[in-house]
């Protein structure tokens, strides 16, 4: 499941999953910009049918944080 999520996240950012790990702070990726945020929101809505309020999203630092948040709110 973790690996699937990493692949989905990588696709949204148009990044190679092999260049990423669940512990990465995703805002540090060079691909991270306002469009990448929309791509991640869209990926989460399409795959898990949830939208994350901005105030919650801002608290999430790593790919793993995001994954756990989704698991807790599905």
């Amino acid at each position: 499941m973790n690996e699937n999520f990493l692949t989905l996240f990588a696709d949204a950012l148009e990044k190679e999953p092999s260049d990423m790990s669940m512990d990465d702070e995703f805002r540090n990726y060079e691909e991270w910009n306002s469009l990448a945020v929309l791509a991640v929101i869209a990926m989460i809505k399409q795959n898990f049918n949830i939208t994350i309020p901005r105030k919650d999203f801002d608290e999430l630092k790593t790919v793993s944080d995001l994954f756990e948040y989704i698991q807790a709110h599905r």
Binding site: N33, S34, L35, V37, L38, A39, I41, A42, K45, Q46, T51, I52, P53, R54, F57
Partner: protein, 322 residues
């Protein structure tokens, strides 16, 4: 008794800001990637002395070359960048266009939902016998509120003006409307400076500046728009397959494609064209309608669903018959 759209014209300011120019200022943004993702290649930007009222007046002037201006008996002007705090810009527009003085004129302050609201107000006024020919005008210059270093907003928004005549018709060609409002989203797309709430104070050397919380606006859109479309189709006693064409507010290609995929709409029936204009706020729907008519994408008798959504939050939708 009913109402219909008789004529539409729009006007784009001369100056064009291309993705290539943006790329020069922000090398980390690729011009081609920007075009591919947001579906915008260039946007028109009002000149330093060109206002929303000027853009609207230019569009209305084009329109009044085809229509007797003495027929106009009401002016509705949708803008969030009025000429002055007072008087009402629509009053200035009456004078600028040389319209009769025996008419009504008012401004209403809405953004991306504004055109749909304007059609609703015009329809209500015509159907209740208050007037026969409404000049519905939109004009917006968000570029003047956008900070030089705000690449996200500079890449999305463009300036424009539009003018539409909504006129009396035996058959009602403007269908049922669905509206929505949620002022809790106000802070997510806002210009705070030089306003009553801030004692009309401007920071030193500052200008009124647009703030947009893109992710929250995106969340709002994906939660609100699919049910809005369902509601308006049901309220008009139609099926989704009865709709010949969908014109959603042209926010950006990314958001539109996401909505289309979420709602499983036939993409060939959906308008996605802000390539040369950008997101022109209340102007996107009249521009799309005019272009679609001229390019033959819609024809007489077609049912066209219109939906506007954004700043406020405010949203609205209707189904018109061409």
């Amino acid at each position: 008794m009913g109402a219909k759209i008789k004529l539409i014209e729009y006007y784009l300011p001369e100056r064009i800001l291309t993705n290539k120019e943006l790329e020069k200022v922000y090398p980390e943004w690729s011009a081609t990637k920007l075009e591919k993702k947001v579906g915008i290649k260039q946007r028109h930007i009002a000149g330093p002395n060109e206002t929303s009222l000027d853009l609207a007046a230019n569009a209305a002037t084009k329109l009044l070359e085809k229509e007797d201006k003495n027929l106009i008996d009401f002016v509705l002007f949708c803008t969030q960048s009025p000429e002055y705090l007072l008087p009402t810009s629509a009053c200035l527009l009456q004078a600028k266009l040389g319209l009769r003085t025996e008419i009504g004129a008012l401004d209403f302050n809405l953004g991306c939902s504004g055109y749909v609201y304007g059609l609703a107000i015009a329809k209500g006024m015509i159907n209740s016998g208050l007037c026969k020919n409404v000049l519905l005008v939109t004009g917006e210059t968000y570029s003047k509120f956008i900070a030089e270093d705000d690449i996200s907003n500079r890449s999305i928004f463009g300036d424009a003006g539009s003018a539409t005549i909504v006129t009396y018709s035996e058959e009602d060609m403007l269908g049922e409307f669905v509206f929505g409002t949620d002022g809790n989203g106000a802070e997510n797309l806002i210009v705070k400076e030089l306003t009553a709430r801030n004692s009309y104070i401007l920071p030193t050397n500052g200008r009124p500046t647009l703030y947009m919380n893109g992710p929250e606006i995106f969340n709002f859109t994906i939660e609100t728009i699919p049910p809005l479309l369902q509601k308006v189709i049901t309220k008009n006693k139609l099926q989704i397959t009865d709709i010949n064409y969908f014109i959603l507010h042209q926010a950006n290609k990314y958001i539109l494609e996401f909505l289309i995929s979420e709602m499983c709409l036939d993409i060939s029936k959906c308008h996605i064209d802000m390539l040369n204009y950008g997101n022109t706020v209340s102007n996107t729907i009249p521009i799309a309608l005019k272009d679609s008519l001229e390019q033959g994408r819609i024809k007489e008798g077609d049912k066209v669903l219109l939906a506007g959504f954004g700043v406020g939050y405010s949203w609205g939708s209707t189904i018109i018959t061409i």
